[in-house]
């Protein structure tokens, strides 16, 4: 056993990995057990005590992932197990790191959308939205976005929330053995993506929401397509309820698993369904409204136990709330421009390029050089399906961001894993990872 541990330590796993128990300090433990506010090191050290039987090794450190089907990509967890019980856990990330923030410093604000949209690939439109909103705030045009563009952004953002949560339903079901749920979840999500394809031309990574508005107007017949979605999805959600919510096996696998308290969730910076599952009513759409969320009616879904079942139920009901919001958006969708008519930011219409040399030059300049953004720095946050996604841009007055940082909700939420898993069974680890719903693309960026 010690040989295995030393291989892990000395082989390919230096300091990043989980330390063996013999090298564990109280402060290290405080971190690994998912530190709680105001817990002293002495209290943390007590948490690490396990009955010592010198005749045999007590615990075993194993790797779960990075190539594990339930780790949603390439998340690797190092688990310290005593029998079937998880004593400690450390998520190890970075396998998908491609330096997107560095790339973002070399792309113009015009091109930036293509970069950020690939971070959280399950809610690309929310990424584009937050990036565009940050850019607009720096430009000082955040109040001048045409009404139609704002409502279109809301429509796409809410549909994206639905597609993301539907995929969560699928993967959560799959992880816990409800394999038919996987097929259903993907099927419904595909309906939403088909609508996205019609509007933006792509199923994912749209680069559709851009600084100044959106890339194109809604296509003909969009209203019928949305209505079709709104009519077809609710009965399916009822089916999910029958298949999962009330089912005893499902409840047994989720209830009381991966519990986190309010104070812990706040201390760890968790947002989104994880924070709401503990009973904190916090949804940026309601509490710091952006776009026109203050003009639509919807409920913020909160849980009360902070367990995996609450997080599942919150996401299921958030789909219903999104449907409610989308219906109101349909009623209120105004006519008009879909992007700001500001010559500095908006490329000229395609038809003008054929008849005007100036328009051609303008078009060329804006797509090659981009537009200059005044000096300054700004942080804008919106509610993505996974929590608060924020965008911090520092500008030096040129056409590319001096520093582009995306506050990825999954990156922060993943810190809850050690805490949720502590003392649970290794079989529940799968349920816990699934309930956090991390997207590794945005964890590693």
């Amino acid at each position: 056993m010690t040989d295995i541990v030393s291989t892990i330590r000395e082989g390919n796993e230096p300091a990043q990995g989980l330390k063996p128990r013999s090298e564990l300090t109280a402060r290290e433990l405080l971190r690994e057990v998912g530190a709680v506010l105001r817990m002293s090191e002495a209290e943390a050290a007590k948490l690490g005590d396990i009955p010592v039987d010198p005749s045999e090794d007590q615990t075993m450190i194993i790797n779960m992932g990075p190539q594990h089907p339930s780790t949603h990509g390439v998340l690797r967890l190092m688990l310290e197990l005593q029998g079937e019980t998880v004593l400690r856990c450390k998520p190890i990330i970075g396998y998908l790191h491609t330096g997107m923030e560095k790339t973002g410093e070399n792309l113009t604000y015009m091109q930036g959308g293509t970069n950020v949209t690939r971070m959280d690939y399950l809610s690309p439109l929310n990424n584009e939205l937050v990036f565009s909103m940050a850019t607009e705030k720096l430009l000082g045009i955040d109040g001048d976005i045409p009404e139609r563009a704002v409502w279109m952004r809301m429509l796409l953002s809410e549909l994206n929330r639905m597609s993301s949560h539907l995929l969560f339903m699928a993967t959560n079901g799959m992880d816990l053995g409800a394999v038919s749920m996987m097929i259903y979840g993907w099927r419904e999500r595909e309906d939403v993506l088909r609508f996205f394809q019609k509007v933006t031309g792509l199923r994912m990574n749209h680069n559709f929401i851009r600084p100044g508005g959106v890339a194109a107007d809604l296509p003909e017949g969009w209203r019928d397509d949305v209505l079709h979605l709104l009519d077809s999805i609710p009965p399916r959600l009822e089916e999910y309820d029958i298949l999962m919510t009330g089912q005893p096996i499902w409840r047994d696998r989720l209830q009381g698993v991966g519990v986190i308290t309010q104070a812990e969730a706040m201390a760890l910076g968790a947002t989104g369904p994880i924070l709401r599952s503990t009973g904190v009513e916090w949804d940026l759409r309601r509490d710091q409204p952006y776009l026109h969320y203050d003009e639509v009616e919807f409920d913020v879904i909160v849980g009360s136990y902070g367990d995996a079942f609450d997080r599942y139920a919150i996401r299921l009901n958030e789909i219903r709330e999104s449907i409610k919001i989308v219906r109101q958006i349909l009623d209120r969708m105004p006519t008009g421009d879909y992007r700001i008519q500001n010559k500095k930011i908006t490329p000229p219409p395609r038809a003008r390029i054929d008849e005007s040399m100036e328009a051609l030059i303008h078009h060329f300049k804006i797509f090659t050089e981009g537009f200059k953004v005044p000096e300054g720095e700004v942080y804008v946050a919106i509610e993505s399906p996974r929590g608060e996604i924020g965008c911090y841009i520092a500008s030096d007055g040129s056409a590319t961001p001096y520093r582009l940082h995306v506050r990825a909700p999954s990156f922060v939420n993943i810190q809850c894993l050690p805490h949720m898993m502590r003392g649970g069974l290794v079989a529940d680890a799968v349920a816990v990872i699934s309930s956090v719903d991390p997207v590794l693309g945005e964890v590693d960026r």
Partner: protein, 159 residues
């Protein structure tokens, strides 16, 4: 304008505090006691190629700037803390004891900028491999300069 004796500025309608390194922990502690219970974001900027930027009087611009975004759920407010970190001594005290959630974010800043957080429980690289050279988000770290990590003469792991 100032708050807790620390210069306060306005950036596009957002409140920004500019403590010195010595005031940093005390300022954040005061904010934590003043309902700012969540550390939403912690990141850094390397101002190597853009030294001249607007800062309140009395704050000398340094190469690095650590940016902390705090959130008050109760008052639904945000506040940002920007602290200057010199290149010659790129260290800053950790916020881990107040905000355990800043742990991964401080590791990311360490990994990407090489700013060390003193008393951090586990200051290791988080996104890059452990034996990586340099800090990628520094402005003097070129893009597209990727040494080959795995080659044929890579020493075989001994069993």
């Amino acid at each position: 304008m100032s708050l807790y004796g620390v210069p306060l500025s306005d950036s596009r309608g957002q409140r920004v505090l500019h403590p010195t390194r010595e005031q940093y922990v005390a300022t954040v502690k005061a904010l934590l006691d003043d309902t700012f219970v969540m550390c939403i974001d912690l990141t850094a900027v390397d101002f190597l190629t853009h030294p001249g930027r607007e800062l309140p009087e009395g704050i000398a611009a340094e190469r690095f700037e650590v940016v902390v975004n705090l959130l008050s759920l109760e008052r639904r407010e945000r506040i940002r803390v920007r602290v200057q970190v010199p290149e010659s001594d790129a260290t800053l005290p950790t916020l881990f004891d107040m905000y355990p959630g800043s742990e991964a974010m401080e590791r990311e800043v360490y990994d990407m900028f090489g700013i060390a957080f003193s008393n951090h429980p586990d200051l290791t690289r988080i996104l890059m491999p452990e034996d990586w050279d340099g800090h990628p988000l520094r402005k003097d770290y070129d893009q597209g300069r990727i040494p080959v990590q795995f080659s044929a003469d890579f020493p075989a792991r001994e069993a």
